[in-house]
């Protein structure tokens, strides 16, 4: 589309440290795009390079067909909502919002400012100073101050980081509503995986200056591409395994003496050393006497911890080879949670598995100490 934001081979070095490493990505026009990563992964630096607040070491930034790589911040058709809000303390809310309009020579700012205050649901706050607003209100004004300029891309730098949990939830819904209403491209930087999944159409998980995985929240969560993503976005149980063959559309794996199956379509790597992964909420528990459904992958273990969390119960179980496995069980059925010490069989439907490449060395140690070494048991 005309106004896609495109980063090509963008690199940023600070002294000898590479903050952003040969990063390429396209943010489609009108999308809500989240850059997700732990602090220091380069996500904020990427955002600041788009804003023009950091110079690129190499690479290009384009907006549609326009190369904006070397443009000064004040010449870029993008606006930022800063983490600290950065509202001008000496100006009223109205003047803060009108600031950008005035710089561009817009004469009648009154109407637009009023519209923006309406949009962020603070219509009566125009005459106040930022210091007279709560954190959540300041956040809305910062959003209004950026959006009033009708930027091609709105950059949000951890905008909800300073808010308490309840207010953050509320603002997430609010931001999503506003994005749908104005249709502007939102590039949102956050370290909160729930926030990213909740709001964004597309999430790019970043680590060490690179994109680890990019896709819709469902794609990334259901089929992560690396152990890092599998554990950064939610939790995963990962078992060191080796591919032993195929059966139809399924990949056969052996791990710690057990045999497992996973659809080939859910494998990022189809031979040699792999990780077999499954999300804790996909796993069911059966008592040894009960029969697990036929064809399910199974892991025996002993419960070591039971954590009742209202909507669900989180179990930790210890496998015979000493690995901990977590299982989330929705509290939909009647009955008491299982107690620690209970022997159980954890099982899951093979299509819920995912298979990731495993480097030699990773996980081998666990395999060597397995109670029932690979290949001995049937």
């Amino acid at each position: 589309m005309a106004d896609d934001l495109v980063l090509e081979n963008v690199t940023k070095q600070f002294g000898g440290v590479t903050a952003v490493d040969d990063l390429s990505l396209t943010v489609p026009e009108g999308s809500f795009f989240a850059l997700l990563g732990a602090s220091g992964c380069g996500k904020t630096t990427t955002l600041r390079m788009v804003a023009g607040l950091e110079e690129l070491s190499s690479g290009t930034v384009r907006l549609g067909d326009r190369d904006i790589t070397g443009l000064r911040p004040y010449k870029r058709p993008v606006n930022t909502v800063f983490q600290s809000y950065a509202l001008f303390p000496h100006l009223t809310v109205e003047d803060n919002i009108a600031f950008g309009l005035k710089q561009r020579g817009v004469k009648d700012t009154k109407k637009k400012v009023a519209e923006m205050l309406e949009l962020v649901q603070l219509p009566a706050f125009g005459k106040r100073k930022p210091a007279q607003l709560s954190g959540g209100q300041q956040q809305r004004i910062a959003l209004a101050r950026a959006l009033v300029n009708e930027p091609k891309v709105l950059l949000l730098d951890e905008p909800l980081g300073a808010l308490d949990l309840k207010l953050r939830r509320q603002m997430q819904i609010e931001l999503k509503r506003i994005q749908t209403e104005v249709g502007t491209t939102f590039l949102h930087v956050t370290h909160d995986q729930e926030e990213a999944m909740w709001m964004a159409d597309t999430v790019a998980v970043m680590t060490e200056g690179k994109i680890a995985q990019l896709g819709s929240p469902t794609d990334i969560y259901e089929f992560p591409s690396s152990p890092f993503v599998a554990n950064f976005l939610g939790q995963s149980n990962l078992f060191a395994a080796e591919v032993s063959g195929t059966a139809g559309d399924d990949l056969l794996l052996s791990a710690h003496g057990g045999r497992f199956a996973a659809p080939s379509s859910r494998a990022h790597s189809a031979d040699g050393r792999v990780w077999l992964g499954v999300r804790p909420e996909k796993v069911r528990l059966a008592l040894p006497g009960e029969d697990a459904p036929a064809g399910h992958n199974q892991v025996h273990g002993v419960l070591t911890d039971t954590c009742y969390a209202g909507v669900s119960t989180e179990y930790l179980l210890k496998t015979p080879w000493g690995q901990e496995m977590s299982v989330f069980s929705a509290n939909a059925a009647a009955g008491e949670p299982l107690q620690p010490g209970t022997e159980v069989v954890a099982h899951w439907y093979p299509p819920h598995s995912f298979v990731l490449a495993r480097q030699s060395g990773e996980g081998d140690e666990v395999m060597r100490y397995s109670a029932d070494p690979l290949g001995v048991a049937p």
Binding site: L53, P73, Y74, F88, P89, G100, Q103, N149
Partner: protein, 304 residues
């Protein structure tokens, strides 16, 4: 005290009378702490001021030896203005020019030290304060030799075209203003530094993000936010500079004398105490009027 409150709270049944509020006994403490300063000001500011006000209204026909009589001679003020208004105007003018030059020189310096100097910051601050390690008088005398007719500065100007061979700096208004600027520059830089140091760089980034060019960022964000420093700096420079007489004495001629020189000579040379006192009050009034109209115009309540 804490232990006492603790045992009361632990008393069974809650029947024990509530302990007296511990704050009450401390209420006079702030005033006690104010007392030494208050006494000091009373003794060394209020009493002399009242006395000076009285002196300014004495009959000028008296003398130190014969004594003065209190005549409530408000005419003293009129006489002083008629005789010395050029000195009053000159004082305000020189101090004003020096203050403006100090602001123009001091602002970029303070900005650099506060925002850009990194690990050199403390060293640079020491350099700003370093002149205070020598006395005011000696430093001004040094300027006398720097600006002297056969000194390097004058020599340099004389070598330039359009400057006559008898061009001189010493004993001119330029020398007096230079001296004032030099002597009062730290009083401008330090308050400016204090406000610019607190300036949030993210606000400047935000202004740039909102399409403001660097010059506009300065005008619309940096300057308004540093106004408390600008006001404090200009007051700390202007007020002492307006009353200064050392610079005019050492670097100027009677043609450059400021009101401070006149008061100095009225008290110590001409021994005309009533007039000296009247001139002192005139100077104080002039400064107060100028400062108040300046603060009103600069609008301190808007900032701070």
């Amino acid at each position: 005290m804490t232990a006492f409150v603790g045992t009361t709270a632990a008393a069974p049944g809650g029947t024990a009378p509530p302990p007296p509020p511990p704050a009450r006994r401390r209420r006079w403490l702030p005033y006690l702490l104010l007392l030494p300063g208050g006494l000091w000001l009373l003794l060394f500011f209020v009493v002399p001021s009242v006395q000076l006000a009285g002196t300014s209204l004495y009959d000028r026909s008296g003398s130190l030896e014969l004594g003065y009589s209190q005549a409530f001679a408000f005419g003293n003020y009129g006489d002083a203005i008629i005789a010395y208004w050029p000195h009053l105007v000159r004082s305000a003018l020189y101090a004003g020019i020096a203050t403006i030059i100090c602001a123009v020189l001091g602002y970029p310096l303070a900005y650099f030290i506060a925002q850009k100097s990194g690990r050199w910051r403390n060293l640079l601050l020491v350099c700003v304060i370093a002149p205070f390690f020598t006395t005011f008088l000696v430093r001004t005398l040094a300027w006398k030799s720097i600006l002297s007719d056969n000194g390097p500065v004058t020599g340099f100007f004389r070598s330039l075209p359009f400057f006559p061979d008898d061009f001189r700096l010493l004993a001119t208004p330029v020398a007096v203003v230079c001296g004032l600027v030099y002597n009062f520059l730290p009083f401008m830089v330090l308050p400016l530094y204090a406000t610019l140091e607190r300036l949030d760089g993210r606000l400047l980034e935000a202004a740039g993000d909102l399409y403001a060019k660097p010059a506009t960022v300065f005008r619309r964000v940096t300057l308004p936010l540093s106004m408390p420093g600008v006001i404090a700096g200009t007051l700390l420079t202007f007020i002492p500079a307006a009353g200064d007489y050392i610079n005019a004495e050492l670097l100027g001629t009677p043609g450059e004398y400021m009101i401070g020189n006149v008061i100095d000579s009225a008290f110590l040379v001409r021994l005309d105490y009533p007039q000296a006192a009247a001139l002192s009050f005139l100077l104080m009034a002039t400064i107060l009027v100028m400062v108040f109209s300046y603060i009103r115009a600069a609008g301190t309540d808007e900032v701070v």
